[in-house]
């Protein structure tokens, strides 16, 4: 590739971050630092039952014994955990707004600006939203309509108050607080998140979604999401994330737990667009997230789809534990790293039940000085008679200063298992670009078209509204002046 076209492609990648604004609201913030008193304070603010405070404290004490993981293919300055504030919430007149009319209009405006209107009459029919602003959920829509079907969709804090038995039963059952450093930290200090319960045999009539927004400076966001699909039920859940542009790095250490009982199906889609930092790598979110689902019964199915375009560093491995016989796990991923972004992402598929199946489709796009690693584990336990896995890892390189890395781990303890792994690495070629431009497309549209084509297998797994959003997002991420 000639150096001038190289330059052109890189110029195309200069990204604009539309969600980078700050909302001026009065904040209630806990001073920086972490100790048992801070945890007691968070728990007290949320009026939590004793079991939860105990659990948080156990998690904190365990966390103190742990070391930050260093095995990921990412580099960053050590994080000072005492310099972070662990709770930030917009001040509200009452404990919690009863309806949208009581929600600070500035908050509603924030979500509107992000394209997420919270007033039900204005929003996309068929999508219910829980809006999480820094440490708290500010609104959840369509709650009543969902309740008619027996579906619980609310903030985690509300679930703790109204359905403590479900929380106690399932919290930490998929990701125990001992699981890893960031999961332990989250367990100690998590503030809010979404909670979903779908009763047996119910097919959730609309998409459920959570929109996470980090606003406050110098705070971490530690949300926790728990989704339970009871026997024979179905739910599709979407999450979106953005944050203001700031020069400091901010930590986001979330935990998501999914439980699918016999015959249940959970489809979990993420479009992650946290602030990625600037061209020089200043600022951006450290996205250190633990996501895991358990297929607890026969024929349960959990499907993860993620489009990761934001964050300075992404460290996440949405996984599925296939306990039930004939259960199915899927992971579809697009990860884009540009400028100085780093991503180490992939999945774990742990086959325990008989005739369990898993599919992994990973598409990594590296541009600028971005580093993109796929790390995936396929483990077939001795008990997993007839288990099958198919893994496909494709990397697309744009420019010659970026990197793509693949770390597949395969452990097979049952001879009847079939495991397939395919991997490719390609570059956007000058020939492809010229071909599309000769048909009248601007250079940036041509790059965008090639990248979208590369991601097609993943995008087709996204719910319609999100697929459009994801395509637009990749378009914006690759937008810029032609050099």
């Amino acid at each position: 590739m000639s150096s001038s076209s190289q330059h052109n492609i890189e110029a195309l990648l200069k990204r604009r971050y539309d969600a980078g604004f700050v909302t001026e609201v009065e904040q209630e913030t806990v001073p920086p630092g972490l100790n048992e008193d801070v945890i007691r304070l968070i728990s007290a603010k949320k009026n939590e039952p004793g079991f939860l405070l105990e659990w948080r404290l156990k998690a904190y004490r365990h966390w103190l014994t742990m070391e930050e993981p260093r095995w990921a293919h990412v580099r960053y300055q050590p994080i000072d955990y005492q310099a972070i504030s662990y709770y930030a919430a917009p001040k509200q007149k009452k404990d919690r707004p009863k309806s949208l009319d009581e929600v600070d209009p500035k908050l509603l405006e924030t979500y509107e600006k992000l394209g997420i209107p919270l007033r039900e009459q204005e929003m996309l029919a068929g999508v219910a939203v829980d809006a999480v602003f820094d440490s708290v959920s500010v609104a959840t829509t369509f709650k009543e309509k969902l309740a008619e079907h027996g579906i619980i969709f609310c903030s985690f804090s509300e679930a703790v108050q109204n359905h403590p038995e479900l929380v106690e039963k399932y919290l930490g059952s998929v990701v125990p607080y001992t699981d890893n450093f960031f999961a332990a930290l989250n367990s100690a200090v998590f503030s809010d998140g979404s909670f979903v319960y779908v009763p047996p045999g119910v097919r959730c009539p609309m998409e459920l979604s959570t929109y996470f927004r980090i606003n406050a400076a110098n705070t971490g966001q530690f949300e926790r999401t728990l989704i339970i699909a009871d026997e024979g039920s179905y739910v599709s859940y979407l999450e979106g994330c953005t944050a203001p542009m700031r020069d400091e790095n901010q930590l986001h250490a979330a935990v998501v737990e999914l439980v699918a009982l016999e015959g249940a199906e959970i489809k979990y889609s993420t479009v992650q667009n946290w602030y990625p930092g600037d061209e020089e790598g200043r600022g951006g979110i450290y996205n250190f997230v633990t996501k895991r689902g358990a297929c607890r019964g026969r024929r349960a199915k959990i499907s993860w789809t993620q489009v990761e375009t934001g964050s300075a560093i992404t460290w996440k491995y949405p996984s599925v534990i296939l306990e039930g016989d004939e259960s199915v796990g899927e992971f579809y991923s697009v990860a884009l790293t540009n400028n100085c972004q780093q991503a180490d992402t992939g999945t774990k598929m742990v086959h325990i039940g008989k005739n369990t199946r898993s599919t992994i489709i990973s598409k990594g796009i590296s541009a600028g000085r971005g580093q993109n690693a796929y790390r995936g584990l396929v483990r077939i336990a001795r008990s997993a008679e007839g288990a099958r896995n198919y893994t496909q890892c494709d990397s697309l390189l744009i420019g010659d200063r970026c990197g793509a890395h693949t770390f597949p781990y395969i452990e097979v303890r049952n001879r009847t298992a079939q495991v397939e792994h395919e991997a490719t690495t390609s570059k956007i070629s000058e020939d492809q670009l010229f071909y599309l431009m000769q048909r009248g497309l601007a250079a940036e549209d041509a790059v965008s078209m090639i990248v979208n084509g590369f991601c097609k297998e993943v995008f087709k797994e996204l719910p319609m509204e999100f697929a459009v959003e994801a395509q637009k997002l990749l378009g914006v991420s690759l937008e810029g002046a032609v050099g």
């Binding site: 000639s2 001038s4 076209s5 070629s429 000058e430 020939d431 492809q432 010229f434 071909y435 599309l436 431009m437 000769q438 048909r439 009248g440 497309l441 601007a442 250079a443 549209d445 078209m449 090639i450 979208n452 084509g453 590369f454 991601c455 097609k456 297998e457 032609v482």
Partner: protein
């Protein structure tokens, strides 16, 4: 004049490839560019379409009176220049119909026309599909991915038919085609011939010119047009090969040098 090339010199990586091309193409005409391998035929096609990596060291190209060489490739396309590629590239995951729609609308936007809606667009494409005798299924396959040589060339002609260019440049569109595909491709091109539209047909063989009958034939060798004539020139080349013309050109050049 639709296209005027004046004393065009082009180098690739410092090596001169085109060494003074003069060519004028009027609307409604079909010009064939013939010549032995390495004579600069494809370079000429690529330079006109604006591919990178070609350095214009002298001369000028006017397209509808405008300086073509100043225009970026996508603008040339939108202004009606279409290059049917010798080696069309694969674009995995992008369907033919998606590319066609994006291309049509890019051109329409440039011309200040509204985007075609899905129904009108599909109607237009279906009509053109018949022209190249392709099945509608073809539209939903990824651009050129897994296409046979013949399918790729037919796809180029389909795109050309949909985009309705003012100047169509066919770069060795006949290479690798069997006789049936050649006929289909040629009929597609012929159906596009019109008083407003011109074609530059780059080919190594006269065979294609039995189907697409040119108004003028130019022989390119060593980066220059060494002979121009009507279609009988192509037939003569078919019979005698390029050797005699090259010899003549060499003698002429030697005589010219001796005289000066």
């Amino acid at each position: 004049m639709l296209l005027e090339i004046r004393n065009l010199h082009v180098s690739v990586e410092g090596k001169p490839i085109l060494r003074g091309i003069d060519l004028a193409v009027a609307a409604g005409e079909v010009h064939a560019i013939m010549g032995p391998n390495g004579s600069g035929k494809s370079t000429l096609a690529n330079v006109l379409a604006g591919r990178e990596g070609y350095e214009v060291t002298g001369g000028e190209v006017l397209y509808r009176g405008r300086n073509l060489l100043e225009m970026p490739p996508e603008e040339r396309a939108r202004e009606g220049i279409f290059l049917a590629f010798q080696y069309p590239v694969e674009v995995p995951g992008v369907s033919n119909i998606y590319l066609l729609k994006a291309a049509v609308n890019a051109v329409r936007k440039h011309r200040g026309l509204p985007e075609l809606d899905a129904m009108d667009f599909l109607k237009l494409v279906r009509e053109k599909l018949r022209l190249v005798q392709m099945d509608e299924q073809f539209l939903y396959r990824s651009v050129n991915e897994g296409f046979s040589g013949g399918e790729k060339k037919r796809n180029e002609v389909l795109q050309m038919a949909v985009l309705e260019p003012t100047l169509g440049i066919l770069d060795e569109t006949d290479s690798g085609l069997d006789i049936d595909a050649l006929r289909i491709v040629s009929e597609g091109v012929n159906s596009l011939r019109s008083p407003e539209r011109a074609f530059l047909v780059v080919t190594h063989y006269q065979r294609l010119l039995n189907y697409i009958v040119p108004d003028r034939v130019h022989v390119l060798a060593g980066g220059r047009i060494i002979r121009s004539g009507d279609r009988t020139l192509a037939l003569e080349l078919e019979e005698r090969g390029y050797g005699w013309l090259l010899d003549e050109a060499a003698r002429g050049q030697a005589a010219g040098q001796a005289a000066s």
